[in-house]
């Protein structure tokens, strides 16, 4: 690290030996499933995300962690071009966003949609196929099989014709995950996939995500249950408007980085105690 690179003294990302920071930077941008540089997003005049550099690795599950209002969801949305960015660059598998959209699957926050919408479970999963099917392509044969297989993977095959309004919170989340699976992407971005779901659903979702990782995909999830970070994820990205720390859970998820992200509330606490104390948000 140069002596000027101080925005993330706590960051565990260390330039691998040999190359300069610049060269590594370029290599990362060209290779990583998702890399952002200098990403800044603001709602009004307060930055929600400020000058964030992040590199999300493949064959890994990364948790984006930080307190409420720290810009976790905003970071994801900015990566997908859903919210406009004030400044910064986003690269997906080394390409600009538009060129690589077909390689990304997205699971929005469950609460962001109106579950009273008149449609069925299978219909929602088919929405994940809209890119491939286009405006008129029919959902028969291969596409139909795929949609149903994805429902099976999340244990919702029997609910295909069910109204989405009749689902429990956990079932809604499973349907959203199935929709993302149907996209058959290489990079999965999930916004709070475990918020408000039952224990069985949480386990089922983790299993699916771990399987994706085993297939070599990159999984990035906004997560706010500190107690389960170490169990579910390999890597962690701590954010509080700015990048706080980034690295493997062992490197970047400790009392010091948490204190930096969350402030004094956690300053005197160790991660072990956190785990005992249960979910913290």
């Amino acid at each position: 690290m140069t002596n000027g690179d101080t925005s993330n003294v706590l960051a565990a990302r260390i330039a691998p030996g040999g190359g300069t920071v610049q060269e590594d930077n370029a290599a990362e941008l060209a290779r990583a499933p998702l890399a952002v540089r200098g990403l800044t997003v603001s709602y009004g005049e307060k930055p929600a995300v400020f000058s964030v550099d992040a590199t999300f690795a493949d064959k890994a599950m990364t948790a984006i962690v930080g307190p409420n209002g720290a810009g976790k969801s905003t970071l994801l949305k900015a990566c997908l071009g859903i919210v406009p960015r004030v400044a910064g660059e986003v690269r997906v598998f080394g390409q600009p966003l538009e060129a690589a959209r077909h390689r990304i699957a997205y699971v929005p926050q469950r609460a962001s949609v109106d579950w009273d919408f008149p449609t069925t479970v299978l219909d929602v999963v088919r929405m994940g196929l809209y890119r491939e099917a286009g405006l008129f392509g029919r959902f028969t044969g291969r596409l139909d099989t795929r949609a149903r297989k994805c429902l099976e993977r999340v244990g919702m095959a029997d609910f295909a014709t069910r109204q989405i309004g009749q689902l429990s919170g956990g079932q809604q989340q499973r349907v959203f995950l199935a929709r993302a699976l149907a996209q058959e992407a290489d990079l999965y971005l999930l916004d709070e996939p475990f918020a408000g779901v039952d224990a069985a659903t949480e386990r089922a979702i983790v299993d699916v995500l771990k399987l994706l990782k085993a297939e070599g995909k990159a999984v990035v999830a906004v997560h706010h249950d500190l107690a389960t970070v170490a169990d579910y994820f390999d890597r962690v990205f701590l954010i509080n408007v700015r990048r706080i720390a980034e690295g493997t859970v062992a490197e970047a998820f400790n009392a010091e980085t948490l204190a930096a992200a969350y402030g004094g509330r956690l300053a005197a606490t160790h991660v072990d105690e956190l785990v005992l104390a249960g979910p913290l948000t």
Partner: protein, 307 residues
């Protein structure tokens, strides 16, 4: 159901049906997006658009007026967005500010300019003149095959039919985009679908329907048809596809029944004159919605997503 019917009732009924359907179709999505009142706003700003078009061209001709009204609708939508974004004003109030101001300006310009010689006034704008859109040259059903008679059809009929067709076609082509951008705008954007543009285009399509319908049937029908048939349809089914079909059925029923009741109802009751067809169509659509609220199979909210 003879020559009289073809001459005096067929064309108004058809125009009413096309107008009702053209408004009900986009209304389905407006309701799901909690934007039902956009229809209210649009129908108010059509008046200033038409008045300005009249002042610019100096004549009551269809095309400039439609363009003027469409322009006013687009202007209103843009202004509402601006007031919302810049002022941080909540959507309802932003609409209230914009459409009342434009409407007031329209009335003022109308009063100030000499339009006494032409058929252009506020009441006409509100109520339309569905009853007067008759087919004088028709002598019976066989006139439908008579090219000469067909040429004298009221021009509102082909215009409204074309609009209805266009709206239907647009909705069928962009069905998936509309559906996903309405259900989950963030996910739609993540797929690269221009969700915000789809939302804007929907409002423009609604404006187009309103403008075309307005000329023939007045703004009451426009407001009522944007909301009542789709709202009633929403209470009948849990499938968007079926909801749209129900809404078309309700819109058609409202138009036909409303026109017939307005024209013949008073006679049955011993009265002498017909009442406003536009008003009656709105009333019938309201009765249908009332019945759907009382008996619709899917009238209540259910499930974990109930808000």
């Amino acid at each position: 159901m003879g020559a009289d019917f073809v001459q005096f009732s067929l064309t108004p009924i058809l125009i009413g049906v096309f107008a009702a359907i053209a408004c009900a179709l986009p209304g389905n999505f407006l309701i799901l997006r909690r934007q039902a009142l956009i229809g209210d706003a649009i129908s108010h700003v059509v008046l200033p658009g038409i008045v300005v078009a009249f002042l610019v061209t100096g004549a009551v001709s269809a095309m400039p007026m439609l363009l003027g009204a469409a322009g006013a609708a687009v202007l209103a939508v843009v202004l509402i967005e601006l007031v919302k974004r810049i002022g941080g004003v909540e959507p309802g109030a932003a609409m209230g500010v914009v459409f009342t101001t434009l409407f007031a300006a329209g009335v003022l310009i109308l009063e100030q300019s000499d339009t006494s010689s032409v058929h252009l006034d506020v009441e006409h704008a509100l109520m339309g003149n569905l009853e007067s859109l008759i087919w004088l040259r028709a002598e019976g059903w066989h006139s439908l095959l008579d090219v000469e008679a067909l040429a004298s059809l009221p021009p509102e009929l082909p215009r409204m039919a074309l609009t209805c067709l266009l709206i239907t076609a647009l909705m069928l082509v962009f069905w998936r985009w509309l559906k996903i951008a309405t259900f989950d705008e963030g996910f739609a954007a993540s797929l690269g679908i221009p969700a915000a543009a789809v939302g804007f285009a929907l409002v423009i399509a609604a404006a187009l329907s309103a403008v075309a319908a307005f000329d023939a049937v007045g703004s009451i029908i426009v407001i009522a048809m944007f909301v009542c048939p789709p709202a009633a349809a929403r209470l009948m089914t849990q499938s968007l596809e079926r909801q749209v079909i129900w809404s078309v059925a309700f819109a058609t029923l409202s138009a036909v029944l409303g026109y017939v009741l307005a024209g013949y109802g008073p006679l049955w009751l011993g009265g002498a004159d017909a009442v406003s067809a536009a008003g009656m169509i709105a009333v019938v659509s309201g009765v249908i919605l009332g019945l759907a609220c009382l008996f619709g199979p899917h009238r209540a909210r259910v499930g974990a997503g109930a808000a």
